[in-house]
Amino acid sequence: MKTTLSHLKIGQSGIISDVNIEEIPLKLIEMGCLPGNYVELIQIAPFGDPLYFNINDSHVAIRLETAKEIEVTL
């Protein structure tokens, strides 16, 4: 099943299937946010944003608006 990172629940994981290159900072791509890599939602900040992921073993927090641009296969 395909969805975006913004729809994951805490503890849920998947494989990145597509990223919207225009809306994603290069830094995130360099941290391993690339199609085929593992991703898991670790924590959601109070008030629902930002989101704290383990992406390809990098632990990063990104905002909801960025998470919406990354597609994931569960």
Binding site: V19, I21, E22, E23, P25, L26, K27, L28, I29, E30, M31, G32, L34, I42, Q43, A45, P46, F47, G48, D49, P50, Y52, N56, D57, S58, H59, V60, A61, I62, R63, E65, T66
Partner: protein, 701 residues
Amino acid sequence: MANSTIKVALIGNPNTGKTSVFNQLTGLHQQVGNYPGITVEKKIGSCKLSESLKASILDLPGTYSLNASSIDENVVIELLMNKNDENFPDVVVVVTEVENLKRNLLLFTQIKDLEIPTILVINMCDRMALKGIELDVPQLEKELKTKIALVSSRKNIGIQKIKNLIADYQSLSKEPCLNASIIDEEYFNKLRRAFPNQLLYKLWLVITQDVNFLNLDRKEIQNSFTKSHADLKRLQQKETIKRYQFINDTLKMGQKIDGTKTNTVRAKLDRVLTHKVFGYLLFFIILFGIFQSIFDWSSIPMDFIDSTFANLASYAKTNLPAGEFTNLISEGIIPGIGGILIFIPQIAFLFLFISVLEESGYMSRVVFLMDKIMRRYGLSGKSVVPLISGTACAIPAIMSARNIENWKERLITILVTPFITCSARLPVYAILISLIIPEKRVLGFISLQGLTLMLLYLLGFGAALFSAFILNKLLKLKTKSYFVVEMPNYKIPLFKNVGINVLEKTKAFVFGAGKIILALSVILWFLGSHGPDNDFGKASQIVQNQLDAKNQKYSPKFLEDQISSYKLENSYIGIIGKSIEPVIKPLGYDWKIGIAVVSSFAAREVFVGTLATIYSVGSHSDEEATIKNRMEAEVHADGSKIFNLATGVSLLLFYAFAMQCVSTLAIVKKETNSWKWPLIQLFFMSGIAYLTALAAYQFLK
């Protein structure tokens, strides 16, 4: 090769312990400066490799890749691209961390492509067993075409190995790890034909980066090889994928990870520290603790410094031959130096707490917790770091706003940070609070004075948020919002790192601000002890005549005090103070306070020093030795105290809001690249300061 020096550049991702490695290699042999024209900190240290061989080690700013996205990162790439730079390294040491090897190696492969001899340091190797990681070092060395040092900067393991590898750098391979040009062969072949003498990867960086390169004609390359921004980014993504493919293949052969040993400590701590209730609660408890302890702990050394310098001044006055030179020393220079040193305890404690929070990895969790809230005010979660650092000093705080990717959020952060109570305000607050707030405790343990200080901090923070809110509505800037925050592993802060950081920051502050304070003290002393000849020169005669005319009896001491106060009133500084009195009188200030306010425009902390100078010029009795006692003894003509509640509150509010710091204005100009923003800041802040001080005094008097 007697006494030759190898130039080494230390490069690595943030949070890899690069600074620890630097500290271990160089100890206290470090020099901190700035790169010319920009305010990026430049740290160089020296390290002895053998009797005749030294290494000069440059600690470059942390970066995730050679695709720079900030001024700090630009420094790294500009240096590596310019062979003529005096700091261009003979050998690069890339610091990586064993748990994040995959990501850290991305930067390593990029640097290898520049064909510079490169050593790979894998740090935190003491955690390998704990995390179930095994490395096949010879295999990795072969695949990555480098030499590897397994290091634990924390346990001081492997540092000697780095030194040996540096000494032997000439035997390192310069061969790149992979061929980046396969991402678009046709394009890269054209590039190769057009610039046969240049390194292909270098050309590619010139095309994609927004940095200056002295030896390559950037326009020429760009014109003939332009691609759209999106196309370039797509190629950069392709390049990144290629690099990760190579890294994954390499690690498959050289690294084994036992997946059962996952990081439970981190997960548990994260659950508590980023919890929607406990997270905030803990954050505020930590902040409260910091402010209480700063006020409590530093009061002892501060009192000590205060009284020591008062004693020193009176000792100098009584034991040196009387004259102009002795006056300069005892009334200008000694109080001036005392006025600088008195900051050290508070600044050191603040930097201690801030660097412990950053070193431990906790600061990133605060960023995560606060982002949504801060965004309502047009700020970013990352603004928390400048805002908290602002409690030490606005200058490094404004510089730390650099890692906010969004320009509007960064600009607002820069503009509101000076509202935060910095350590330069502390001496002003401390002395005013101790004059107007009784030394009592409520509920047995909360000191009333500490509570007042806490309120002033909250006031500064509130003013910052409020103005951010207004600015967010007023500023019409459209920028894409990027927010990527790494959440590093939790670590117990290393004493050595924290210590060096505290030492460096305190030193920089004391010497930077100290020069201004000392110079102003001397100038103030001169202006206060000299004046136009008509009144000032004939002071003793005039006073004596006045007293004689009244036919009063007086002691010689009374005469002396009358003369010196007449002198002060008619000195240059008295004239300045009196001429601005109409403007400041509604705020409850007399001309002496006026002088202090005006002179502290350069830097707030000068306020206390100025009053000290003014009152020591005016008073001769020895029992009134410390500044506080002198201020307490100051009275209006009708005998009422000058530093009463109304004036005290009015002054506190004035200093809470006013932009009384030339260095901050200078740094804002530098960081925003225009005079527009610092000037707006100046008028806006000083306006608020004047109005609130006015309102407070008129209401309370």
